[in-house]
Amino acid sequence: MLTRDLLLFRVREGRLRPSFIKREDPELLAIAKELIAELEGGNGQTRDDLEEALSLRAGAFSRPRIARGLVKLLVDRALFDEATEGVAETRWERFQLAARVLRELPPGATLEAYEARLAEALPAPLPEVREALYVDLPGHRRLLGWEALTPADLLDRYNLALAQGPLLGARRLTLRARAPELLRVRKLLRWLKFCRLVAEVRRDGEDWALEVEGPGALLSLQKKYGLQLASFLSVVPVLERWELMAEVEASARRRAVLVLDHRDPLVSPLPAALGHIPAEVATLAEAFEDAEWELDLTPLPRHMGAAGLCVPDLTFRHKETRREVALELFHAWHAGALARRLGELRSRPDVGLLLGVDRALARGEEREALEHHPQVVLFNGFPSARRLRERLARLLSEPAPAGT
């Protein structure tokens, strides 16, 4: 992240726009390369020396604030060694010795006399002792390595940091995703949960709208969740077409609206993998293509219990009654998640949700409870269309819950 003094943006008519840089700008690529080379050649240098060398290069660049921002992002990725062993112990001995010398000085002794006695008593020359006394301070630690980036990656990180900076002062953001792919939305929602944020999610045709904020944002809490919102931004470019708005602090007394969209040069640093839709889900969808039911593979997330978020694997919609039933699948490795979900259903019933549970999870004491649970469908490997149809038919024969 960039500190406030390194953020570059313009505010016009209440809209704040980061001053993004062009990742193909040859001058910027050159300074990025130069700074990276300085860092790569700096192994073994002290932090103070390295920071000074980098800031001198940054200061001499025609756009020093951008260069200082690049330096900040680079130093954040640098790894310095731990305190040198034995330094603290040697220091301790020096202090004990100096205290003894001080105690034994005659009244009226001069500073020079003290230094002369120190020099006699110390096992090494006084200037060397002085030099080595605090050699383990953070500024004296030596560079061990860094999280490598290419010059272009560094410029990408810079652009992202420019957009994240203003979000540190935001309380919420609004995100609109234009006809996103399911897997991209799932990645976004997983990251939302990871960032400990909540969202009001709406579907508008093929588009998704998310009001993203912290759990306490609707209360008078001072907590701003800015860091979490900034962290959430790093997943947003995973969506291919999107718009984002957030009220931010342009300065201490001035509010503005940060406006971003997919045309901005923002690149997600998260791994590119999106996961996949299991072949079984696609097969199941084919088996349900009939007159009675339709399947939605991009269901809305459901809030569960006090603070849980469930992204169902699919939703069945009865064509005649429009009643919806969502299905969430729990495989053999989901024991913890299943226990949590069952607890959430106990504290806050949600009859519109079916849990498909692998029989591998129905062992021991839980088996009977799961077999008789009105919302659980047990399966081996994957739930069959037949079992699901039976369960859905049973649900249809029961009164619909309010609101569906």
Binding site: T110, V198, S220, G305
Partner: protein, 457 residues
């Protein structure tokens, strides 16, 4: 169905609520997630109302139970400590106590913890205080005391943390403690720290401070989140009885001619560069502009060196070091605390005189060892920048030397407090050493405008 209470990232959540207007008024319906939500600090009020209604409820929010605690090392409280504890207890375990530094706030807190018998989180401003509280609580309560902060992450039923760490951690552990103690609680109203009390369930709360008043009226925030002020004693009421009497001496140092000439030359070089380039350091971007401009030419680099040189001379002039040396000699048998404004100065002095330093860079084990050696007299002089300003217990210190500092009255009173702990026959001395003819003399005038100073000077 019983009402369920859950803790969610510093908020209190109920999926459903009984139909009671007073109870529902404490919550807001969260349209995003469909639950009822309120600030965690309203937990006590919510539970009391549910009990009053006789409604069944399942408390899944609280992650603490009563804790059997007894004093392993008995405390014979001073009258003001006993009165403060009584007032706080009568206020049902919520409230603020204002006592001068050295009047025994930590021991009062030990008594409060032993009385309330709940897992307790103590929030303090600095790592030194953290280590010191851990020592005192461990000694009197005979339990392992956890630490959160300074690279240590060890949560125990009784834990000490810093305001910075607590700010980041409250959303995770705000439901783990029944008693929240905020030491030097005048820090709490800062927007970034307020969440520590807002996001905590703790039904019992104690705020401690030597100087509650804030210029922004923030003490009202303390009252809302921790409880009303239940007890207060002034520094003058306790001086001589529970605090040592004290004396303040101000020493103005003339720079030697050679140093003065170097100071003037260096300052002219850097001020001239600022003027020539139209840079105002009081402007928001002034400092950054100076740094950038100064790196682009030899003249700029010379100006930057000039800036550092004039600052170094003002803060560590040989005349000041000589004065410090004379004070150290005069007080050879005493414990002396030397305060400076910044780390650069304090490390320069440490190297020059081979004296130990505590700053925020000092690792927790080393600072504990240094404080213990200072207390025992093994290392009778301790240099520090700002970290010992607040509440760190160095009762054996009799002499304080302020070698340079800022204009904050609060900071100065707290520095005075460091050396005021009562000891038989003790008379504390505070020296204030500032350079005449430099920008520092104005700062010194400003910080002397407090009753404690006027009393002692």
């Amino acid at each position: 169905m019983a009402t369920e209470l859950h803790f969610d990232c510093g908020t209190l959540v109920a999926p459903t609520l009984p139909d009671d207007a007073r109870l529902r008024a404490l919550f807001q319906k969260d349209a995003r997630t469909g639950v009822y939500r309120t600030e965690a600090w309203r937990y006590r009020e919510v539970v009391l109302r549910l009990r009053e209604l006789g409604e069944p409820y399942e408390d899944r929010a609280r992650r603490f139970e009563p804790l059997a605690l007894e004093l392993k090392v008995p405390i014979e409280p001073f009258p003001h400590q006993r009165e403060a504890l009584e007032a706080w207890t009568q206020a049902k375990g919520r409230g603020l106590v204002e006592l001068p530094t050295g009047a025994g706030k930590t021991l009062l807190a030990v008594l409060a913890i032993a009385h309330i018998q709940r897992p307790t989180l103590v929030v303090v401003p600095t790592l030194d205080l953290m280590a010191q509280w851990q020592m005192v609580l461990g000694k009197h309560l005979g339990v392992e005391v956890g630490l959160l902060g300074g690279g240590v992450n060890d949560r125990q039923p009784v834990t000490v943390t810093t305001y910075d760490s607590a700010t980041a951690q409250t959303e995770f552990h705000g439901n783990c403690f029944g008693l929240l103690i905020c030491d030097e609680c005048h820090h709490l109203p800062a927007p970034s720290y307020r969440f520590i009390a807002e996001g905590s369930l703790a039904p019992y709360r104690l705020g401690l401070s030597a100087t509650l008043e804030r210029t922004d009226g923030g003490e009202r925030v303390c009252e809302e989140l921790l409880g009303p002020r239940v007890y207060r004693a002034e520094i003058r009421e306790l001086q001589g009885r529970y605090l040592a009497p004290y004396e303040v001496r101000r020493i103005e140092v003339q720079l030697p001619p050679e140093e003065k000439a170097r100071y003037d030359e260096a300052r002219a070089r850097y001020v001239g560069f600022l003027r020539k380039n139209g840079i105002s350091l009081s402007a928001p971007e002034g400092w950054a502009r100076f740094l950038a401009q100064s790196q682009r030419s030899d003249e700029g680099r010379a100006a930057y060196r000039g800036y550092r040189e004039q600052k170094r001379i003002a803060l560590t002039s040989s005349a000041k070091v000589d004065v410090l040396w004379r004070i150290l000699l005069e007080h050879q048998g005493d414990r002396v605390l030397v305060f400076t404004e910044d780390n650069e100065t304090v490390y320069a002095l440490a190297r020059r005189l081979l004296l130990p330093v505590i700053t925020h860079h000092t690792p927790v084990p080393e600072r504990k060892r240094l404080l213990a050696a200072f207390a025992s007299g093994e290392l009778p002089v301790l240099l520090t920048s700002k970290v010992l300003n607040e509440g760190v217990d160095v009762p054996d210190a009799r002499v304080g030397v302020i070698l340079s500092g800022n204009g904050s009255v609060r900071e100065h009173v707290q520095r005075l407090g460091r050396i005021l702990r009562q000891r038989p026959g003790k008379r504390a001395m505070l020296y204030e050493v500032c350079s005449a003819q430099t920008a520092e003399s104005g700062i010194s005038e400003r910080r002397r405008q407090h009753s404690a100073y006027q009393e002692g000077a």
